[in-house]
Symmetry: none
Subunit: 237 residues, 2 copies
């Protein structure tokens, strides 16, 4: 699934490695439209290709522009990503709130050069400033990391299919677990584990509490637990 209404725009990027890493991150999060304005080291760029890994098709299809104006011409809404708040009278949104902020239409995300980001003239092309909130002590994000975090937020903006992450092993029922407790308690009884009769119920409760906290215990795992109790309780040969 590719969100084809979203463009990532790298403005005057310096290092091919970062362009490649940005393309890889785009691919990881289902984006495909990469636009590059005046890459310092020209184009094509070998480093960009090798670092892009599975995102190589994005590098191959990237559009190269000599001006930002051309690069954003077909977009209806543009965010300028900056690490720190700027002294510009423009609205900003935090990356965490991006999903709720985006309008419909063709949307672009601008990222600046490695050493000093976007200049104010470039930011003027944006409808809004997009801020990745960082620790004040060191706010300078690697450009590919910034792209990665924004792509990650954009990916989260759609429905997540949580269901298919669930593992498929057969889960133990409450009954399965009860048989295990009976087995364990009987064996413990036999081995005189419950030395203080008045504390027996309380201790059994603690043991139940402990094992019942194993989330999503499978049938196979309950069998392993039975096996452990049986083996341990057997008399030495």
């Amino acid at each position: 699934m590719t969100k084809n209404n979203i463009a990532i725009i790298l403005v005057a990027p310096q290092m091919g490695e970062n362009i490649g890493a940005a393309a890889r991150a785009m691919k990881n999060f289902g984006l495909g439209d990469l636009r590059i304005v005046s890459p310092r080291d020209g184009w094509p760029n070998e480093k960009a290709e090798s670092v892009s890994a599975g995102g190589i098709d994005i590098i191959k299809q990237a559009q190269i522009f000599s001006s930002l104006e051309e690069a954003v011409a077909d977009l209806s809404y543009i965010y300028a990503t900056t690490g720190v708040s700027r002294d510009i009278n423009k609205n900003y949104v935090l990356s965490r709130d991006l999903a709720q902020d985006m309008p419909a239409g063709n949307i672009g995300f601008m990222f600046g050069r490695e050493n000093w980001g976007l200049n104010n003239q470039e930011i003027a092309y944006a409808n809004k400033i997009l801020v990745i909130d960082t620790d004040k002590e060191y706010a300078s994000l690697n450009i590919a990391h910034a792209v990665s975090i924004i792509c990650y937020e954009l990916f989260g903006a759609k429905e997540v299919l949580r269901a298919d992450l669930n593992n498929t092993q057969a889960l133990a029922s409450a009954n399965d677990l009860n048989y295990f407790y009976e087995h364990l308690f009987a064996s413990l009884e036999e081995k005189e584990f419950f030395r203080v009769p008045e504390k027996k119920d309380k201790m059994r409760q603690k043991i139940r509490n402990l094992f019942s906290r194993i989330d999503k215990l499978s049938v196979q795992e309950v069998q392993i637990l039975h096996g452990i109790v049986t083996a341990l309780a057997a008399d030495e040969k």
Copy 2:
């Protein structure tokens, strides 16, 4: 502001550049405790230093370990970060839901090697799997990007790192749990539980996976588990 109860653990990382980029991302998002298990190219690593940029202090103070077991010994809750769902019966949480999931205490986040991530034996050390949701078409995240995204989520979680009001009991550390495993495995060995030698490691891993899923295991509960094993393994009177 540094969250000093959170450790980032890189397991057998291959490229110094990625270690450096991970340290830079940690610095961006206010983390400081970097632990590296068996870095492929040794330590110190020049590439790691140069790429870390403003995170150089994190590289300088990084702790190097030769085993994962030592690296996580003092941690009370461990997440294993994986890009795809695994056929392991362990709980998982999506990175987006991490803030709500974290218990109080010393928490570690494990990240695997560049080419194939964490192996199942390593994942067995974790209490939970942490999944960065990606596009199915290309799920392989650069390791430093994965670290960056998790650090970004942790930074957003700062207000949520609250004292756990429900559970005032002292939580067991990974070390406490290791002593229990040693006790259990030794007792099982004695009772000839591991009948098929080739399956022994696999079975031990399954048992670790099972017990490590007990959420927020307390010191007292680990003592109960020791007591159970001791009692069961004792010869009948």
